[in-house]
Symmetry: C2
Subunit: 136 residues, 2 copies
């Protein structure tokens, strides 16, 4: 299958490694517990590498929402095994899903994980409530 | 100054290490460049540790929006120098601001950085446009 024949994305498909814990209270609203922090740190560790971040962004923004590993390797000055390793790290962290079709493996970003991360990092207004408390 | 006398938060104050690059297009909308990915990976690396994540969340959710280092150390099974090291990593990544007041250093989360991270990780709808392209 060529990249011009990509089927419609199936965004709801989950990766096996998707941590179930990353839901949903912003970490600025209440303190993270130890178990949640351990799970979340693994996801951030997967994103804490420039090549993985670029891979992740490239997949996420790829036309049609998914990319063949053959679409990705040309963008980086690293070997295909290295790219495959980075993709495995992203998949194990629950950030991307993948499926083999013939010779190639296709990858797509799992939007629910993106949504959870975005929600966890959402700023929380330190507003009237806290200030009223400080003045009381 | 006791923690009961915390002044009103100054959320707009920036840390010296705040990367200027982290703005504003979701990484699912267009591929991250190399320089942006390098800067962003440093921020995620700062968050890729369970103790730092809990520290960050504890500061962010602390009553009044800021916390003295004396408020934080009791929550962790690590030494105060270790806590101070982790706080320095968070500060250097532009995630928290800090100020010494007498004996203690006070920390607060920089909400603009949280907002940028949250925006960068926002899911992008793979919607009608991409599907129409796939079907054309």
């Amino acid at each position: 299958m060529s990249k011009k024949e990509l089927p419609v994305l199936q965004p709801a498909q989950s990766a096996p490694g998707l941590p179930g814990v990353l839901c949903c209270t912003p970490l600025a609203r209440e303190p993270l517990g130890e178990a949640d922090a351990t799970d979340l740190a693994k996801v951030f560790k997967a994103l804490a590498d420039p090549v993985r971040l670029r891979l992740f962004s490239l997949i996420a923004s790829f036309e049609g929402g998914q990319a063949c590993v053959c679409d990705l390797t040309g963008e980086f000055d690293v070997s295909q095994p290295t790219i495959s390793h980075h993709l495995k790290v992203l998949r194990d962290a629950g950030l991307v899903g993948s499926e083999r079709r013939g010779t190639w493996v296709y990858y797509w970003v799992l939007p629910e994980m993106l949504g959870r991360l975005s929600g966890l990092l959402a700023p929380v207004e330190v507003g009237a409530e806290a200030r009223a408390g400080a003045l009381a």
